[in-house]
Amino acid sequence: MINIDIGATAISILTLFGIYSLMSISLNLEYGVAGLPNFGKALFISIGAYTAGITYTRLLPLLAGVEAIHPCGPTMGGALQLRSEIMASNPTAGFINFGLTLLFAAAIAGAVGFAVSYVTLRLKEEWFLALVLLVGGETVRILVRGADDFICSHNGISGVAQPFFFVADPRSRALLFMLLSLALALLAYLYSQRLNHSPFGRMLKGLRENEEVTRGLGKNISLARAQIMAVGSLIAAIGGVLFALNTGFVNTNDFVVNLTLDVWVMVVLGGIGNNRGALLGALLIAIMDRFAQIGAIVLNMGGSDIEFNYVRFIGFGLILLWMLRYRPAGLLPESRLTTDAHDVVRRVIGASK
């Protein structure tokens, strides 16, 4: 038998939960609320990770006042050591770098989301958007992987340490990062929850239900679409930054279609259009991920020849199919939208009685 450290497992699950929540909330805003099928989620998540790859290799040394070393090729080891030394000894530089990474990632992803939305307006059929985003995400991944100097193509960049790297005790270090990711997820949740019950949310739900009519009622739906794509993309990119920091690596191989599917499963599982559902989906997938890893170890130690990772994907597919067929609204179905105005009307009616 292996010993499972319950504390460490809980910390790693909750950290993943925070990161996945950012991703699922962003997809829920785009698809659940506004009806935009973003099958290119991996692209926007990867923008966050690539940004981290660049800031950690180019910006961090500058902030610490030392000269940057080219991160790829023969100087790779030296550059990695430099990063680790700075992150361990200079928390200020680490935090400034982290903050700027979030800022840049959000700005770039938001701008890309906004632009992509406008470019894809000319698509003839609605579902082409799904296809273009899916394929666009893979294209960018291949181009980034091909560009040697960008994030070191196939090797990727390691030693992308989380900002609390300087804390000596590994348990407290992990705990602090968990709190950080949960805090960012909470912010995203509160934002999207309030958005949902605002006039903006109302307009987006109108857009989801009937685009033509919403345009006919004086709404600039192209702008609204682009705005929600920007918001969703920047949240996804923040998730991407944390994703990279959590594993410590930036590698193009992580941002394949399967990652997009993971996020879709979270939203479909939790409940399309319901932010709490998105959180629940993220939690379930985080737990599943972690236990799949533990299960794989247990299975291998038990001498089984079956590779657990494969079984995980089969299970994943089956869950998705089961949900689509029997619980299409998810575990927590969307509650109906009632904006603040209802309270006002209730009061008016009450007063007139």
């Binding site: 605002s198 929600i228 109906r336």
Partner: protein, 252 residues
């Protein structure tokens, strides 16, 4: 006096089909104008052309002397032209109240950076809600404010659609068969409501309608379309007794 809405030589081709062929008509301010014709005569297409949801092939649409021929639907609405649809196109998954509040113009809370800060838009929203109460009282739907639009009866849906248009404070209302699929008695009530819109709010109306017996009671002037062309026009009495109109319309 220049008419509120003026169409000059409108034409619309769908592939090889000419749905609207050289139609010119005028809608004076404060009038109720009827637009009639057999199915497929191009009436609904004409409404779409004015509202900007279909691009025109040639011709010109002037609204309050401004050329709106090439404006998209949202701009047309903002200028003061609202429209209803033949099949009620409500937001069926929203409450009656949210259906009404959505079309209100220039809402602060519709901008993503204000939306999460409730304080920045809640006063505005409350004012809109009070305006909605007025409109709901007018169409007798006030006590349904919290009902999902999909749970309303057919006649209530028609009324809600008109009420929703009013929230955009239009000068001109385009209605496409406002009584389609509604019981005759209720159809008459709907037209009474429509007449009050003109009398109380000064709204001008262009109405496509098949129930001529009701339309002729309320309309000031009627245009008749047939096969995409304008067949006849005139005051209600003239049209009702026009031999050609009777032939294409009633087949006698």
């Amino acid at each position: 006096m220049t008419p509120l809405l003026e169409m000059k030589n409108l034409r619309k081709d769908f592939g090889g089909l000419r749905a609207v062929d050289n139609v010119s008509l005028q809608v004076p301010e404060g009038a109720i104008i009827g637009l009639i014709g057999p199915n497929g005569s191009g009436k609904s297409t004409l409404i779409n052309l004015i509202a900007g949801s279909t691009d025109l092939s040639s011709g010109q649409v002037l609204f309050a002397s401004q050329d709106i021929s090439d404006l998209p639907a949202d701009e047309v609405f903002k200028l003061g032209i609202a429209r209803g649809y033949q099949e009620p196109a409500l937001y069926f998954k929203m409450t009656v109240l949210d259906n009404l509040l959505l079309p209100v113009k220039d809402q602060r809370g519709e901008r993503p950076w204000y939306a999460p800060w409730r304080r920045s838009w809640q006063h505005e929203e409350a004012a809109h809600a009070e305006a909605a109460v007025q409109v709901l009282e007018q169409v007798q739907l006030l006590h349904h404010y919290d009902t999902l639009a999909s749970d309303l009866s057919g006649g209530q849906m028609k009324l809600l659609e008109i009420a929703r248009c009013l929230m955009g404070k239009p000068q001109l209302l385009l209605l496409d068969e406002p009584t389609a699929g509604v019981a005759p008695k209720l159809a008459y009530e709907i037209f009474q409501q429509i007449a009050r819109l003109r009398d109380d709010f000064g709204i001008t109306l262009l109405i496509v309608e098949h129930r001529l017996e009701i339309l002729f009671d309320f309309a000031d002037y009627v245009y008749v379309m047939h096969l995409g062309k304008l067949l006849a026009q005139g005051a209600v009495d003239e049209i009702a007794n026009d031999a050609i109109v009777r032939e294409v319309y009633f087949g006698d």
